[in-house]
């Protein structure tokens, strides 16, 4: 996936919505900008398969050496898949944040109404 094609939350999560088996499925990750800002990531805490997530609410957290940051969900729905191997190789978050660095796949009930397109998200990051 290309950064330009994704939607973002102000809090730096990206989402790509596709269709699978007749249902809307969202793939969720964190942006390259966020990974760069977080620095040395040492752990990521994610929900389990079957858990519910709610748009705009916390679904997990990223631990860097210096601090812990919350992850917020861009969608409301039920977790279908969790990127299981990620905690053992967090380098994919920086090497390939929009493809191999995905976090969750979620069956979508609804999308956040605060999603930004790439241009708007980039503008927000540039103003930092």
């Amino acid at each position: 996936m290309k950064a330009e094609d994704l939607k973002y939350l102000e809090s730096h999560e990206w989402v790509a919505v596709g269709t699978s088996g007749g249902q809307q499925v969202a793939t969720i990750g964190i942006s390259a900008f966020a990974v760069e800002q977080l620095g040395d990531i040492v752990h990521i805490e994610l929900p389990g398969i079957g858990d519910s997530v709610t748009a705009g609410e916390e679904f997990g957290e990223v631990e860097s050496v210096k601090a812990v940051s919350s992850l917020y969900s861009p969608v409301t729905g039920q977790v279908l898949e969790v990127h299981a191997g990620l905690v053992d190789d967090l380098s994919v978050l920086s090497d390939d944040p929009y493809e191999r660095g995905w976090l969750l796949k979620v069956k979508v009930d609804s999308l956040s109404d605060r999603l930004l397109d790439f241009a708007a998200y980039k503008q927000q990051c540039d103003s930092h």
Binding site: G39, E63, V65, V68
Partner: protein, 365 residues
């Protein structure tokens, strides 16, 4: 925000600047892990000018400090530096400090003291309260000097080459004024990283030149600037307490595992009675080290739990870059504080297995 003589240098050299105790300081340049590794294997440079530097012009300083420090000050040999606590009457820790007795370049024999940035104003007021006429000749040199820590196994040999004097021959926790390029430089064999190294105190106007000279001297030896982020992970691995975390006015020195910094015998100092009383009471929580399973670090204020009961509280925690596992310091009920004891740490609602371990987590070979 207050600026050190090096603040401008940091921000023009990639430092990510943050507000630390009212000072604009670099938390990191690129990676905390890389800066941490440089200090463990080569050397890192830290701007620690935010710390308070106090000079006492008069001989009366010795009796003032002797009355206020938990560590014996009277009779400190010239050239020695001592780590001490200062307490209030209730035994609450006001600060942890370094007390220096130095021969200055004009031959004068003076006490100096380095205090935490966050406590400088409080300690200045405390000193004034106990010496209202300033007979000790206290002068705050924080804003006219800079302090640079050069820490790591290659720090002492490289600084020796730069300064052309026998730094390696100085004992640990010793210091000396030298004349360097026409200005007085206080060189001490001290630090806050668990590595060998030096700290340098120089007049502000020479700080940037000195910093760049040290960096240039170590350029081929892997020296790099390091920020407060690495300073924190390094001191945590070395189990050095940080004021506001392991030490505070709510903590009595008797429980802080800092026995070496307390001299009770044949002395009178503020807080002594409270420390003696605390030593007689069993059951108070005391400082221990924890190693956690997995990779998720515990942070300050995470409860430590045994069988569903809270038995302690984490005061600092991180993922230890050298040890590659999460470590934490905590205050624990003595019943659960013995080395090897299994406990759980509640990290935002989820329990994680941990073991009480001997401190420090890391010590240089």
């Amino acid at each position: 925000m207050q600026q050190t003589a090096l603040t401008q240098w940091h921000s023009t050299h990639g430092g990510k600047m943050v507000d630390f105790a009212g000072w604009s300081m670099p938390v990191q340049y690129d990676s905390i892990m890389a800066e941490h590794a440089a200090v463990r294997n080569q050397a890192g440079l830290f701007d620690v000018s935010h710390m308070g530097r106090l000079r006492f012009a008069s001989k009366a300083a010795e009796s003032l400090l002797e009355r206020l420090a938990t560590r014996k000050v009277a009779g400190t040999p010239i050239g020695k530096i001592r780590y001490s606590l200062m307490c209030n009457e209730q035994g609450g820790i006001l600060d942890d400090v370094l007390i220096y007795r130095m021969q200055e370049l004009d031959g004068g024999d003076k006490y100096w003291m380095v205090v935490n940035a966050s406590n400088r104003e409080k300690i200045l007021q405390w000193l004034q309260r106990h010496d209202p006429r300033n007979e000790a000749g206290l002068e705050d040199r924080t804003h006219s000097t800079a302090m640079i820590a050069v820490q790591g196994p290659l720090a002492v040999p490289k600084i020796q080459e730069l300064l052309k004097f026998d730094v390696a021959g100085m004992g640990y926790y010793s210091g000396q004024f030298v004349e360097f390029r026409g200005f007085p430089l206080l060189v001490s064999r001290t630090g806050y990283t668990g590595e060998d190294g030096v700290e340098l105190i120089a007049p502000n106007e020479h700080a940037v030149a000195l910093w760049e000279l040290v960096l240039a001297e170590g350029a081929n030896a892997g020296f790099r600037p390091a920020g407060l982020g690495a300073r924190d992970t390094l001191r945590l691995e070395a189990a050095m307490p940080l004021y506001g975390h392991e030490l505070s006015e709510e903590i009595n020195p008797a429980h802080a595992d800092l026995g070496f910094a307390i001299n009770l015998k044949d002395r009178e100092f503020v807080g002594r009675d409270a420390i003696l009383a605390a030593q007689k009471v069993s059951g108070s929580r005391r400082r221990v080290g924890l190693e956690l399973e997995g990779r998720r670090p515990a942070r300050e204020n995470c409860p430590v739990v045994v069988g569903g009961q809270e038995v302690g509280m984490v005061t600092s925690g991180t993922f230890a870059p050298t040890l590659q596992k999460p470590i934490a310091m905590a205050y624990l009920d003595p019943a659960y504080a013995e080395v090897g004891r299994s406990v759980e740490v509640d990290i935002r609602g989820k329990l994680h297995q941990a073991t009480v371990v001997k401190l420090p987590f890391y010590s240089r070979s």
